[in-house]
Symmetry: C2
Subunit: 408 residues, 2 copies
């Protein structure tokens, strides 16, 4: 009996040929040569080498150390390359060429798959924003007056976006409890996560020209899980009046795998009903394609699932965020990424941050290794997710994991 | 009588050999070939060609289309290259090689001289922050409680940083006056400037490792004028709770010339006395070098000077801003830039924004072409500046100019 091929996947494998996320890897033998890979099952296909072996017209675009040239090539190229790769991993005649170019996922090292241009983070979950408002402004309206009129966002630090698996050094900074006479300095004692979905821009836009809702798919290549690590104590003291800065800028972890939007056609879903009339540039009621994505996220601490935030509950969609981000004429660059904001559903076990899950430390989580209000040194946080794919099969999203190491 | 050399400068020329700012230019004959230039008088020296002609060991570093490789080479290289260029423009024996490589400033096109990594904007003028607080919160304390404990800052959009001379399209967006029932959409009616000094990072730092106050000059290459265009109406509606976003992200203009810190040794000056005790990482009372820079800025609208903000009045220094920005472990990259925040002095005619100069539109400026509260289409805003140099001569900073064009 012949050895089973890595291309013979179990039925329903979430990384089957319906998925095909992109990443960048190196092998132990060539640790300095970064290559584009596409995940198939538990293997990574060296797509640059495959394109070369099969004489693909995309060999040049795929023989690169990161995704940016493919991202810049635009939507037609994205579609054509995906079709080609789908054929490579499904047409039996290609197997002799393809099988030698497969590496077990466990045997390679994954890297940040793109060069980040600008990084923007939004605040698009009504449940999350309401929870935060109740925690920090218990006597006021939980949502600010602008919240349902525009997707609130701010720029984050591109230079500290790191790939899944990178350790996160506990940040130090100033904090001040309301009763303290002056701020104190030290390692954050309220280190938190934010479970988010990130979106990756491929096609740039021109400065001065907004990108319409309907052009979302011409500009956005794919999505991925994102953990927007947050030091709540640093953030609370610094953020008035100009927003979060050091409470966020020390690290943002992203998955090693970017899932193309085309793999998520079956996961598109209508966003929640809107409570206020939207200005025309944000009004998606007449859009052909529903703006939401039915992505089911799991948040685990040290392997124990503590929350399951549902992305289909997000009030603002990624297309609305893109339209808003550019309506003032701000241009897009290849490699821009933006986060959805913390994903929290209506239920207690659907909250995407420890701030909410423990109600700012009031209600500790009981984990086998002890109580947790915020993260302890050594804790490993892992986000995983899946979305409905074609014919009832799941589309797996690449995980984003990070371990907290003690402050410097 | 021989023709005068471009290197024979008038006494006290603010762009003499004591200054030597760096930029990137193209010529009409080769519009696609970007080259590094150093300004001397009213000429630009093609320093890549000069290094080649004179057999300099830095020829490779200078034959580049932008400053980033030189920035990344570090402080010793910055010093040595500056020494070499100083010799090229001052030693008579070099004239036959150098003179053919000089281009009149008016005959070349200047470009953004560096690739921007992250862009951070601070809020470091006590006078500015106090004015803004009085305008927007007339019944409260003008400064937030954190203001004198840390240099408040936030991340801006790197992708919309443009070089002096680039037109600025009036941004559109949502605005809502307090009495309006809902926001309206349209071109900003409160388009403003912010006169700032920007700082350019050369030497990167490692994620997780703060940069100390004393290491400022190892990381920062130079400074330049910056205009942080601001749409006050868009900003007012969006900025609570996560800070400025579309009110700022449409454009930030920077000078075409970066002045090396070494040219500003005579301009170093002590910052104002501190009113509260600073945490050790910000306490500059024992630093060898004074943290301030005596830079005298002029703001002109359509050629008429409307304000003269004095940079030596800034409460927070650039070294403190760098230390703060990294104290949480955020890394620096070559090409990071950060703005000081609007420079405003204690006097009415020293305010660096129209918001302050007109007290949010209450007191119009009288210009020859009519009254101005905020900017009109067609207005040209020009920031110029100088600083004290060696032996009483002035160090000229490159201007930053921009013209407002109508909304898209």
């Amino acid at each position: 009996m012949p050895e089973q091929s890595p291309l013979d996947l179990a039925e329903g494998d979430p990384f089957g040929p319906h998925n095909l996320p992109y990443g960048v890897f190196t092998t132990a033998g060539e640790p300095d040569r970064r290559r584009l890979g596409v995940r198939i099952g538990n293997h990574v296909l060296d797509v640059g080498a495959a394109a070369h072996a099969l004489g693909s017209p995309y060999a040049g675009l795929l023989a690169r150390p990161n995704l940016n040239p493919l991202l810049a090539a635009g939507r037609t190229a994205w579609r054509d390359v995906r079709r080609a790769i789908t054929a490579w991993v499904t047409v039996p005649a290609h197997r002799p060429d393809i099988e030698p170019l497969l590496h077990p996922v466990d045997a390679v090292t994954m890297h940040l798959p793109y060069e980040v241009a600008d990084y923007v983070d939004f605040y698009a979950s009504e449940h999350h924003a309401t929870n935060v408002g109740r925690i920090f402004r218990p006597d006021g309206e939980p949502l600010t007056p602008n919240w349902k009129h525009l997707p609130i966002g701010y720029h984050g630090r591109s230079g500290t976006v790191v790939v899944s698996g990178t350790d996160v050094v506990r940040p130090s900074g100033q904090r001040k409890a309301p009763a303290d006479p002056a701020p104190v300095f030290g390692p954050s004692v309220k280190l938190d996560i934010e479970a988010e979905v990130g979106f990756l821009v491929g096609t740039p836009s021109e400065q001065g020209k907004p990108v319409a809702l309907a052009d979302f798919r011409d500009h956005v290549f794919g999505l991925f899980l994102l953990n927007d690590w947050s030091a709540r104590d640093i953030q609370a003291w610094e953020y008035v009046p100009l927003g979060p800065f050091l409470g966020k800028s020390f690290a943002t972890s992203v998955a090693a795998w970017v899932t193309p939007l085309e793999a998520l056609d079956a996961a598109r879903t209508a966003p929640p009903a809107r409570d206020v009339e939207l200005l025309p540039y944000l009004d998606d009621s007449a859009e052909e394609e529903p703006g939401g994505f039915d992505v089911r996220i799991s948040v685990a601490i040290n392997g124990r699932v503590v929350a399951e935030p549902p992305f289909d509950t997000m009030y603002w969609t990624a297309a609305q965020q893109l339209a808003h981000m550019t309506v003032n004429g701000a241009s897009l660059r290849t490699g821009d990424l933006y986060g959805s904001g913390t994903v929290s559903g209506p239920e207690v076990n659907q909250r995407g941050s420890l701030l909410e899950l423990t109600w700012n430390g009031r209600d500790a989580l009981e984990l086998p290794e002890g109580k947790r209000t915020f993260l302890e040194d050594g804790d490993v946080v892992t986000l995983t997710a899946w979305a409905p794919g074609p014919d009832g099969v799941r589309v797996g999203l690449g995980e984003v994991a990070g371990r907290i190491v003690p402050a410097h």
